[in-house]
Amino acid sequence: MSTSAEERFIYSRDQGVHDAHVPDYIVLPGSTQEVRQIIGLANAEKIPVVPMGGGLVLSGLTIPLKGGIVLDMKRMNRIIEVNESSHYAVVEAGTSQGMLDAYLKKNCPGLKHSLPDAPPVATIAGNIAIHGSGHLSQSEGGFHSEMVTGLEVVLPTSEIVRLGSCSTVPGWFSRAPLPDLVGLFLGWNGTTGVITKVGIKLFPRQAFHDVLTYMTEDIDAGPDILTRIIHTGMAEDINYALSPKPDYLTGFQMIVMNITAHTEEELVMKRGLIRNSLKGLYETKDSGFMPMPSNMKGSFLDVPQKTLSKFADVRKGGGFEYVGAIMPLEKIPEACRAGMSITDKYDITYSLGARIIGRGHSAMFFFAYPFNRADEDEVGRVRMALEETNRAALSMGGIPWKAEIGGQKMILEQMDPATYEFMNRIRKVIDPNGIMNPGNWEV
């Protein structure tokens, strides 16, 4: 536990544009029992508690808006179990993406989990709690929250509960067939309890990798191209990008498909089927595959992808934030146009793109805006652009992802009042004193 001014300063902000709020305490628990004791005390004293994983969310969700305790989970980083037959791992909430990936590579090389394009210090629990997505989200069933097989949670009233099969039998293999309570802790921005353990699905790790890149200038062509690729079922990950940098890509939409396989023959077959799916398009020469000799493929094969991290520093000065919006696939062209129009209006640079979630069931579209933190005027323009982007995403039929307070308010204004009332009723039952991350999901 720390109350030092320096550490309180560090925990008062994130890398985004949001105002700092200084916590009173920073606590790093080492076990579920310690979390339980801390929450019990906080509940008794009505002290706000803000759970925190890697602290990389950018939209201020771990900024303690009303002071109190920032509960940094990083000490709870044990990998408790890997079940190679039933393809799941159980980890403590502070376990990072990098830790689990390294552990699996060393000890279970035939398995992997879905990695978000975040720095490796991002935590598994933090990412599932915000409905994160990653490199297996297209091929293996959706958001990382959909890959959760079970949770252990400390409730705001300090009870420890297990959800999923682990509540009834020893294994953490499934949420079915029980009443699904896991959703009470996913997407709630830490307002319903503290996740202390996560069961997460694992998937086969293939030895062969390749990447294909398709280019088009036609902004409206994106959904058709993406759908054709998705329908082959051959790509592991599908991403879409539109960026003015580097200059030779200005105006071009790039669709990047990562392919994995157990054998060379399988890889060749998958590559062939994807190419065939676009034959009618590339034969016109209006769009086509970009030739990629082996020296160009390197960074495209990285998991997680580092390109966005590199882009984050394009303006120098350490500022980067984005609106991620979960939206229907067919809205991608509209989202691109909105993003370009907003960045033009506020004179800021951008990277726009999308990761396909599920078999085209939705897309996580990002409007990413880097900025120089030392340039107050630019920070202000980015702040206004983010607000306008949230509004644009909602108006076109998308929903801002891991939205900051302002974005949450916009969502709630548009939400069915009965739904919001139901959310509040649930929260009142779970957290009667309103200690959990107050300010979030509130009007």
């Binding site: 595959f289 030739p291 000799p293």
Partner: protein, 339 residues
């Protein structure tokens, strides 16, 4: 800028149509070839224009040096035929264009122009390259690659500027009149394409392999013969300067490398397949690559040596998968010198 120096009467009088009959990627009988060439010469939309994979080989096959390939490219561009998808083409035009400022630099002979491949200059090391000056980058990149994109116009626009850049910033201030071309593409640009379009080249281009051969001759005593079989991947741009192919044999003779007898060698060499893939002819590209590397393996090659970095990047992996070692010619020479 002059128009392409080609004589339609030569084609009209031609009875062998070697440019098409020898092409490894088109299948015409003599009558069909003659008919298509006539259409081409009449400015019509010949099938040749869309079937051409832009391997450059017909420039070598034509016994009259009448520039059939440059003519094909001219016609493709005139008729708006795009061998490569338009977004890829447009992006490449920007990517490979001049950027940043070029400034005068003192150089001393010999000067090696690394072309766009400055990332390969790690291979220019040791006593074999003692005293060389290296230049390179987008401002002195010949842009001949745009032959693959049906864009003679881009080369016409950029090459004179490139030549000026080389002269004004490097060669003239240092009173040097020879330029060693690391890549066949530059050598072909200065010795074949530029004269074909009436562009004056005020320096003497020297092929990189000629430079290597002469240096190796000077260092003969230091050579430890390699005693290995080495297949050579002849790049498309060497079709513009086939007279330089003999330096491969000359170098191999000095370093104790054997050029094994192959099906796809010399004027029957196969393209690396990279540009065929860019043309979206994926089955052909893969079949071409497979035939090429299997032929190397079947000939007993232990190494596959390259001049062109793009060929290297395209073929290195398949070459390795068949148990051979991909290597650039400069590195092979360094090996023979024990470096």
């Amino acid at each position: 800028m002059e128009a392409l120096r080609t004589d339609p009467d030569i084609c009209a009088r031609c009875s062998t149509f070697d440019c098409i009959m020898k092409c490894q990627y088109m299948d015409y009988d003599l009558e069909g070839a003659g008919r298509e060439i006539a259409k081409l010469r009449n400015g019509e939309r010949s099938a040749i224009l869309t079937e051409c994979v832009t391997c450059y080989a017909c420039e070598e096959y034509c016994p009259y040096d009448n520039h059939p390939f440059y003519f094909i490219v001219e016609q493709q561009e005139r008729l708006g035929i795009h061998p490569v998808p338009k977004p890829v083409e447009k992006s490449q035009v920007v990517m490979m264009g001049p950027r940043g400022e070029i400034s005068e630099k003192q150089v001393g002979s010999p000067v090696i122009n690394m072309c766009f491949f400055t990332m390969m200059q790690g291979g220019i090391r040791g006593p074999l390259f003692d005293g060389v000056s290296l230049i390179g980058g987008s401002n002195i990149f010949c842009n001949l690659m745009f032959l693959h994109f049906a864009r003679n116009s881009t080369i016409k626009e950029r090459l004179p500027v490139v030549i000026d850049n080389i002269m004004e910033n490097y060669l003239s201030p240092s009173d040097v009149n020879e330029l060693i071309c690391y890549h066949d593409e530059c050598y072909g640009a200065y010795t074949s394409w530029a004269p074909a379009f009436g562009i004056e080249v005020p320096f003497k281009p020297v092929h990189f392999f000629e430079f290597l051969y002469k240096r190796l001759c000077q260092m003969k005593d230091a050579i430890k013969p390699l005693g290995v079989k080495v297949a050579y991947q002849r790049p498309c741009s060497n079709r513009l300067c086939p007279e330089t192919d003999r330096f491969v044999d000359d170098i191999f003779g000095l370093i104790g490398a054997e050029r094994p007898e192959r099906l796809y060698e010399y004027d029957n060499a196969l393209c690396c397949g990279g540009i065929i893939e860019a043309a979206q002819l994926f089955d052909l590209a893969e079949e071409n690559l497979r035939k090429n590397v299997e032929d190397m393996r079947d000939a007993g090659a232990q190494y596959c040596v390259f001049n062109c970095p793009f060929c290297f990047w395209t073929m290195a992996e398949p070459v390795m998968k068949l148990g051979m070692i991909p290597i650039m010619m400069s590195d092979l020479c360094l090996m023979a010198l024990g470096q």
